[in-house]
Symmetry: C2
Subunit: 138 residues, 2 copies
DNA sequence: CCTTGACCCTCCAGCTACTGGAAGCATCAT
DNA sequence: ATGATGCTTCCAGTAGCTGGAGGGTCAAGG
């Protein structure tokens, strides 16, 4: 299987597969002509990577997960901890984005739109959030 | 005001202020000794940037927002649209992260932890999600 | 045999938004 | 004079690709 077929089979772009090889995450053999040759095992690894990346694991996490996957003597606790840490980072990021979302949504709905220049969005960015009661910067 | 004071006044690291100057977002004068000299206007711009970045706007968005802020003839609709687009991107990102979160949370709670090697997290990554009824890949 | 088109290869550059560090002046307090 | 800051520039690195240049390979058709 050359890289094009591996890409189709794993769902990853060929460019990404080459990049993962540079990163040491896959190590396909080479044909006499220099073309990469992927076996079942490599395709499996690539699909594993595709799924792990799709769940937001970093490449370093993926490296660790592949290592644990290959290690028959692993403790599932190690995998669980890695995933739990990742979950915590996702939750933190969601919280951050939700806070932004609320503020931005408030600004968007406060702005009338239209041709006039007066805009609460710019006012807020220029002076910081204002107190709803006093109208002064918080 | 030199860069250290500007950093303290705006809340941005000095390094970041220099970077913003490279990007053309601020243009402080220079003293005879070559030091950057920030006036009230620059400090205001930097604080504006700090707040906009804190709401997740890209530097290009910030550039556009500063342009609109400086333009007395602006239409507030332009600002509103920019912010609304940003809001849509935030929402998309949150949805993406929530989907990841649900999957990862499911995997974490399915994994017993402990010393044994059997781990549903790795099983899922290796074969893709399985159907709850048939136990076969979806 | 030659060409055409679709593959494949390597290497380099660029993306976002900084951040760290080295080498070298300027300033200020002692 | 000296040592501690603080300022300057420039270079490199971060994560994870992605695009493109320049070139080799291979199978099919004329």
């Amino acid at each position: 299987m050359n890289i094009g077929e591996a890409a189709a089979a794993s769902g990853l772009p060929a460019k990404t597969i080459r990049y993962y090889e540079d990163m040491g995450l896959v190590a396909p053999r080479r044909d006499a002509n220099g073309y990469r040759s992927f076996g079942e095992g490599e395709i499996h690894r690539l699909a594993f990577l595709n799924r792990a990346r799709g769940l937001g694991f970093s490449l370093e996490d993926c490296r660790a997960l592949l290592g644990l996957y290959a290690d028959d003597g692993r403790a599932s606790e190690d995998v669980r901890r890695l995933a739990a840490d990742h979950l915590a980072r996702i939750d933190a990021r969601i919280a951050e984005l939700k806070a932004m979302r609320e503020t931005v949504a408030g600004l968007v709905s406060a702005c009338a739109g239209g041709d006039r220049p007066d805009c609460p969005i710019l006012d807020d960015l220029a002076t910081g959030p204002l107190c709803a009661h006093t109208g002064k910067p918080v």
